[in-house]
Symmetry: C2
Subunit: 242 residues, 2 copies
DNA sequence: ACAAAAGTGTTGCCCTTACACCCATGC
DNA sequence: GCATGGGTGTAAGGGCAACACTTTTGT
């Protein structure tokens, strides 16, 4: 537990006091990684092996190195804990309630990440050391710290994204049917959508295209689509700003 | 300057290492406070009296106390430096480039704030100690740290807000004319708007109403409007989440 | 043949946009 | 009486929501 001398340091004008005089919080990154498999929207969680919250499930994440940009810290932690790199990752929100970690003041910069379903399959293999599992977002176990709140906020962000930037396909494998894509939207937004309107709207955006291939199943085969390279570039550009 | 032992601390599984073993960055809050006066969108800046960036203009802000929530730190810093409380304040983004502060690793949680024009007038009186001034966002001086980048990002956020949540009135005094409100939108969005369409759209949202009073000026008097209590509650509810 | 999911068009409504003139006041 | 900003309505087009039947396969 970090010793806290309450309010001994009421702040003054910018830089009036030497920076070294201020007590320093710990800073972590936590990543909410979504994917969509077996008809479920899922989040990756890791079971903690040490106190506090030993045995509880928690978001992947960890301490930020002192010389490391935040985005890089998030990418690194995710790589270390899932073996996956090069995925969609953006800053979500910073949670800094003084009581959120029993060890003392720990501020966490939460990140929002999306992984395709096929990459998620591979991930599971890499789970050798740490116990990592995908959980249905709507059926989570007891979580460590304030991680449930963080996930709920990430879910709100995901809904916003799907509503007006067509990124649903990032959750799916490279090739997918329109029905699968519609199911993603329905599960994430928690509402039923009209098939004809959905198809028209998605196709009008020009971000996915017919691959020419078909998926054969129990009934009439379905056309397989994949997203266009333009769509990915467009999103990268949008996200480049802050 | 903070001593940094590069990568001596490659992270491991959650909590595997004692939290105390990690070097701690400093954490600050910085506030981008907007108002609209004399036909200009303005940001409040404070002139630094100490190194680094002595004499440069910078965003109001300062170190987060060890036992203080982030939102409260932002509100406190703003109060200490402007004497104003109870204004619109929300978290913007966390900037953590290791090079952003020459003193060492300083992570800043940036906040986005809006102040009404009449409150902004009063603020100026409270500027006894620190040199604080309002600057046109489109004509800023050289800024300390990465504060120019932070302001640019806040401006993007402000544009989003005006585009689909009608918060423009928060920048204006309690009573205002529709022409004034339109000017706010035009200056923020940097585009010319159609007078009739603008009025129809704003009034359709039901967030402002005719006060029954008139403003007399050089020409035909203009109706004065004020926002409805419902509008404020609605926004508070929206903002309650994260 | 039948069960099951894939696929496909049209219509009405609303919201958005474009656009031009009269009104009330100060000087 | 004239200059100036305040104030108002309408028509066309585009996007969105509602709605039901045919097609293709596996069994």
């Amino acid at each position: 537990m970090i010793a806290v001398s309450k309010s001994s340091l009421s702040a003054q004008e910018n830089g009036a006091k030497s920076a070294d005089a201020y007590p320093r919080p710990l800073v972590t990154v936590d990543i909410v990684l979504f994917t969509f498999t077996e008809g479920e929207l899922r989040v990756l969680l890791i079971q903690r092996k040490h106190p506090p919250f030993e045995g509880y499930w928690a978001l992947p994440g960890g301490f930020v190195n002192i010389d490391e940009p935040l985005d890089q810290a998030a990418a690194r932690e995710l790589f270390e804990e899932t073996g996956v790199s090069n995925i969609y990752l953006e800053q979500l929100y910073t949670f800094g309630d003084p009581q959120r970690d029993p060890r003392g003041r720990v501020i966490t910069v939460a990140y929002f990440a999306i992984m395709s379903a096929d990459a998620a399959e591979k991930t599971r293999a890499g789970d050798d050391a740490a116990a990592a599992r995908w959980f249905n977002v709507y059926d989570l176990p007891s979580l460590a710290f304030d991680h449930e709140r963080i996930i709920k906020y990430a879910l709100v962000r995901l809904r916003y994204k799907l509503e007006y930037t067509a990124l649903g396909f990032l959750l799916l494998p490279e090739e997918f049917t329109l029905s699968e894509l519609q199911q993603v939207y329905e599960v994430v937004l928690q509402e039923r959508l009209d098939k004809r309107n959905f198809r028209r709207k998605i196709l009008a955006q020009g971000i996915i295209e017919d691959s020419g291939r078909l998926r054969y199943g129990d009934h009439r085969p379905a056309k397989l689509y994949h997203f266009t390279a333009a769509a990915i570039e467009l999103e990268k550009a949008r996200r480049r700003f802050p």
